[in-house]
Symmetry: D3
Subunit: 132 residues, 6 copies
């Protein structure tokens, strides 16, 4: 069970409903996933985080395409061990083109980087002048 | 200073030199960066990690292009706060096409994901059935 | 299931019972929560950690009030993704005055800090001289 | 050296200057610290993060007072090992009343929580029903 | 449920079966645990990671004995909060001699180190010249 | 520079000097390293942490020998990227017998575990019944 109740659409204040409506319209879907229902307990966070996700993950005309953004989001979530985030953002990534082969390659790089990070930290390797 | 001495090419054993030579040839460069000189203190790690980096980061015909792999590597390294890895892999990414605009977008997504992870964890949000 | 058995009061050694009794008396409660029953498998850890929690979280006359200490404990636990700790210490915090509004604000700051950390790390921002 | 150049006020675009001006006015100070000069390389992040910091850390009438918010921010930054964030936000906290005694108590709780987290995780302690 | 299907022996390709057979023979066991069945979705990872685990965790004639290697693996997994890894590698460690007393001492040191790390980071302690 | 001043022996209160004296006597050394001089700003932490380190890292008759304890401490410190802790505890480990070969093997296992953790987390592998 979440730490607080999940706020369903029918129980939501007009302020929260407005965000839910925007999520439904932006994503062209007919359901709200749990993280938003949890955030609705603190409307400033709901409104702020939804606005940020909408802008950053959905920005048109950026240099990173939407699927790449999702891959990066998932890579961070795997490193931090956030199950909710891994599952919800791999679902989002699948809608944008992620297939099993890409997922396998993504996890492979995430695992390699976590290892490489500890090799460099373990030996306390100094940054080469050329990298500064 | 690194935790152990850095092993220069001229002081390296034939086994270590063979790896250094492969790094130089594969990367078409004329210098070895510090992390390899540190790993050379334990040749099995040097040989194994170089083989893995060469295969995973350089694989031909994968579903993720080489630049995307570097972006994922950097995203993990930023989340783990590994300075050496951030600097060496942004350098690698720049050689594969990373520009300042992409770097800004990468960091933006990394930061957003680290925040989103703690929102989901903070509220202990249950995974929706549809995501399982 | 925990990694080891949980040691109930009736099965506990006198040494462990003495700690359980002190927990019950100090907290004015009639039950022992699971973490102590797990730690009881290694009595030195049980005794040491309980003594430390009692002193640090319950210290009279400190500059930080007991609720603020719990908020800090929860903030760390959310950052580290420790479900047991989030749930047990938000329960403790509620007994000391935490309400839903404060919880929402707490999570908001925890999430913001996790994001801000990666912005500073991502750009490898140098510490300003005035901050040293 | 930061990963990108730091953008000084005199070299900033009007969009960036507007944010710098708001920072200076809001904080009643005459200098801009480095993190903002780094973020200015990607103006959407600068504008978004400043707006968020201003709202969350400076909100009037919240249930958590401004100093408590800074303590939470610092606790997260210590857990994540972000030097820039530790130094800049302890400086901010000092302006809001943090003294050496409070800092000692803050670090004590942060350290205890990081330990307690691993005790609960190490033993894989199940969450008590009463905490759910 | 895992993020992808688990690949059972009877459904495995010859390439995957060869790795499964080597796991069974090396470990002198008659079952394959889930992590390998998940990795089998991306055979290069399965083959590479199994080879690495076999070499690093099972190396003969190293300076660290096999049980010590497992203890280190578990210590990392507790710090990172990886339930699967904690459970599978404490099981492996028990086969190599881990008992309840040692487990208690292991967790005690892991917890202490996580605390000590944040004390040093919290105070931003400079490295003594003698340690460099 | 540390976040607070370092308290030298000659400037220390009798309470702090008593701890310093015990460190010098227990370790049979003639200098105090910086972490203790930082902790001395908050004597309860200094006294508590020194007592804990003395007991846990130095316990006679435990099942884990002192060198193994240091290796575990270092493994955690590498995973958390605590430079001070890596350097001070590899120095302690060297006094207890750590050599370059063992250090290489230690880092190899730490890196492998950090990778293995993300493979298990990345695929969200379910714990096998036999491991529960």
């Amino acid at each position: 069970m979440a730490l607080t109740k999940l706020i369903e659409y029918e129980d939501a204040s007009p302020e929260v409903r407005a965000v839910y409506d925007d999520i439904l319209a932006t994503r062209k879907t007919d359901w709200i996933n749990n993280v938003w229902k949890a955030l609705a307990n603190h409307p400033p966070t709901l409104r702020q985080f939804w606005g940020e996700v909408k802008e950053v993950m959905g920005r048109e005309g950026g240099r990173l395409d939407p699927l790449t953004r999702e891959l990066i989001y998932v890579a961070v979530s795997m490193t931090n061990n956030c199950e909710y985030c891994i599952r919800s953002h791999t679902a989002a990534a699948r809608r944008k083109g992620l297939d099993d082969q890409m997922l396998g390659e993504l996890i492979e790089v995430v695992a390699l980087a976590n290892k490489g990070n500890r090799l460099a930290i373990g030996y306390q390797v100094e940054v080469d002048d050329r990298f500064k």
